[in-house]
């Protein structure tokens, strides 16, 4: 027992070091600012005063949450339907969801430009185009996260039990399915948001006129290494903040639901915390 606990602490410590040491080094480097040992927020002040920073962050957040909403709206009902009514389609859906991994982003961009060319300007010349594309790019991860959530519950029985008690689909989804799929849905949300916040290649090629935060970051990179590292730290903080907000939103709903019934919710960490940590690393 003691040995296994020690092993656990050691493993956790090593993983912590693996994550924390590079972050600590990054933050320290950004604070040095080239003042030979003196720590300073000069790089941060310079970064925050850069024109275009605010708008790029807003664009990134809009795109990230747009992609998240569209992903959930498309995938959750589809995966539930396929698992309930067309289980044989799962193989096809899984294969399709993997396609974005097999096709290089540049090929996707060229294809998108060709196909979407006929679409109105409010789609192809706005962040909407990025939303559409990020939904596709995140598909391999978001599909698996939601599918794993759906398969971890006895979907058929829960749906049939709810239906037999008079629940329509909206009631069934809001009171039975969503709460029990919360961890899968949160995990998919984290992944889509993290991917959207960190993606550079597609954003720089498809929407150069309205840069997202990674595109903005690349554009100021030439202004100084300390500035770009400070902005990376800001990016990390923003990403962590957003993912924490999603996590708190998810677990907050759970707590309020339990409070109505006057009962304590089942113990356990808020769903998706681990994924949030991993996703933040992807972005940084």
């Amino acid at each position: 027992m003691i040995r296994s606990r020690t092993f656990g602490f050691v493993t956790l410590g090593l993983i912590g070091l693996y994550v924390i040491v590079p972050m600590y080094a990054t933050v320290q480097f950004s604070l040095e600012g080239g003042f030979h040992g003196r720590l300073s927020f000069a790089a941060y002040s310079q970064g925050l005063s850069q024109p275009g920073l605010g708008s790029s962050i807003v664009t990134s957040i809009e795109v990230a949450f747009g992609a998240m909403a569209l992903t959930l709206a498309l995938l959750v009902p589809t995966i539930i339907f396929v698992n309930l009514r067309r289980p044989r389609w799962r193989t096809v859906l899984e294969a399709v969801s993997l396609l974005p991994l097999g096709v290089p982003p540049i090929v996707i961009i060229v294809g998108v430009l060709g196909v979407y060319n006929s679409l109105p300007n409010w789609i192809i010349a706005s962040p909407v185009i990025l939303v559409l594309l990020y939904v596709v790019l995140a598909l391999p991860y978001s599909y698996r996260a939601i599918d794993a959530g759906v398969r971890s519950i006895d979907l058929h029985t829960l749906v049939e039990a709810g239906r037999s008690m008079g629940a329509g689909w909206i009631k069934l989804f809001s009171r039975v399915l969503f709460p029990n799929l919360r961890s899968g849905i949160l995990a998919a949300s984290f992944l889509v948001v993290a991917l959207s916040l960190g993606e550079y290649a597609v954003a720089s090629l498809l929407l150069p006129t309205q840069p997202t935060f990674p595109v903005f970051l690349a554009s100021v990179e030439t202004s100084g290494v300390y500035l770009s590292v400070a902005l990376s730290v800001i990016a990390l903080a923003v990403t962590w903040g957003l993912l924490a907000a999603i996590s708190i939103f998810g677990s907050g709903r759970r707590r309020s639901s339990a409070a109505v019934t006057g009962a304590a919710a089942p113990e356990g960490p808020p769903a998706g915390i681990a994924v949030a940590s991993a996703s933040a690393e992807v972005v940084s």
């Binding site: 039990a161 037999s164 009171r175 709460p179 029990n180």
Partner: protein, 378 residues
């Protein structure tokens, strides 16, 4: 107990019986008419018809794949029929979606909503019907008391045992006052002792509510002990519908005779129309279809273990091969010359004289259960 107290008890019982009859009369009947449903090449229901009277508990009994669960799901609206009708209280609900049928169902798998505690699970049907929170909590609390789960209202499903979860599921199914109660093998995942307890609870509650109930099971003991009538199914059809005693003692077909209870299949011969000779005895042929068989026809005679007496006899023709202990009784299996197995139920005390290898006499005590013409192999 004084005479007055005895009278009061009798009056109380009589009032309870009258109330039960009234509840039955007020509840809803169920009818399935010529139902057909196939899955790919499998015909799950093949012209299946059944009628359940208001307040009655009918068990559908049959082997796996006989269509009993499909029939239940068709009533619930969870399975669409290819042909046929489902009538609830005379109303045709065949095309009505499941959530508009107002039926209560308990599933084989634990089906409680994991995100809700026991009280919220039970109250869910009322929540759907927009009953206010105070009323539905009060009603759900009553139902939990009824199923013996007082004090466990705040527990989540993972904090309850399998038996407790099925009790909550039963309370949940009844909470919104459904027209019918549908039970899809609700006891099959439970251990034997809990299963027996819950079986009695289900019957008690069903009688108390007077609710028309369709109960699907593959366990004949459950079906015979719980129901007003038993429907034995085979290959999507109803082989026989009758009281437990009828199904057990007067099977309509060879299949029912063998599926319900256990039988010994003994070789016999029709010696005159309506009479069969078997093991040196002459018995009346009980089933009409075989009563017309011609003299000299080789038949199989099906006999219940309790209709066979086995006695130790050093010169007897049978040899005891095994005995199964059931507490008060023992089932002894002996082999006759020619390899025919005969099973007899005797008292535990008598079984000591019949160890494996002992020779014995076999005697038929009662009439045959069923006689069927022996199929000639080509």
């Amino acid at each position: 107990m004084s005479t007055t107290e005895a009278d009061m008890t009798a009056v109380t019982r009589a009032v309870a019986m009258v109330q039960q009859v009234q509840r039955r009369a007020a509840s809803t009947g169920l009818e399935l008419v010529k139902c057909r449903r196939s899955f790919d090449k499998v015909q799950a229901l093949d012209g299946f018809s059944i009628s359940v009277a208001p307040g009655e508990l009918v068990a559908l009994l049959g082997p796996s794949g006989c269509g009993k669960t499909t029939a239940l799901r068709a009533v619930a609206g969870l399975e669409q029929l290819d042909e046929g009708e489902v009538l609830v209280g005379g109303e045709d609900v065949t095309k009505l979606p499941a959530h508009r049928r107002n039926l209560g169902m308990v599933f084989q798998a634990y089906s409680l909503f994991p995100n809700m505690n026991a009280l919220d699970n039970v109250a869910f049907g009322l929540e759907v019907r927009k009953v206010n929170a105070a009323q539905r909590r009060a009603r759900a609390g009553e139902l939990l008391d009824l199923v013996g789960l007082t004090g466990l209202a705040e527990r989540f499903p993972y904090e309850l045992s399998g038996g407790q979860q099925q009790r909550v599921a039963l309370a949940r199914a009844l909470c919104a006052e459904p027209r019918l109660l549908l039970l899809d093998e609700p006891l099959s995942a439970l251990d034997a002792k809990v299963r027996a307890q819950l079986r009695d609870e289900i019957r008690r509650i069903q009688l108390e509510f007077g609710i028309t109930t369709l109960f699907v099971t593959h366990d004949q003991e459950e079906a015979l002990s719980l129901s007003d009538r038993v429907g034995v199914m085979r290959k999507g059809r109803l082989e026989q519908l009758g009281t437990p005693a009828e199904v057990y003692s007067q099977p309509a077909t060879d299949f029912v005779a063998q599926f319900v209870g256990s039988v010994s299949r003994l070789p016999g011969e029709i010696v005159s129309p309506g009479t069969v000779a078997v093991l040196g005895s002459r018995l009346a042929v009980p089933n009409a279809a075989s009563a017309e068989l011609a003299t000299g026809t080789a038949v199989d005679v099906l006999v219940r273990p309790e209709s066979i007496r086995i006695r130790p006899s050093p010169a007897g023709p049978a040899v005891v091969v095994r005995a199964s202990f059931f507490g008060a009784s023992v089932r002894v299996v002996a082999v006759l010359p020619g390899g025919v197995e005969v099973a007899s139920t005797i008292s535990a005390a008598d079984s000591y004289a019949l160890p494996a290898g002992a020779r014995a006499d076999i005697e038929l005590l009662d009439e045959a259960l069923f006689v069927v013409g022996r199929q000639l192999t080509p």
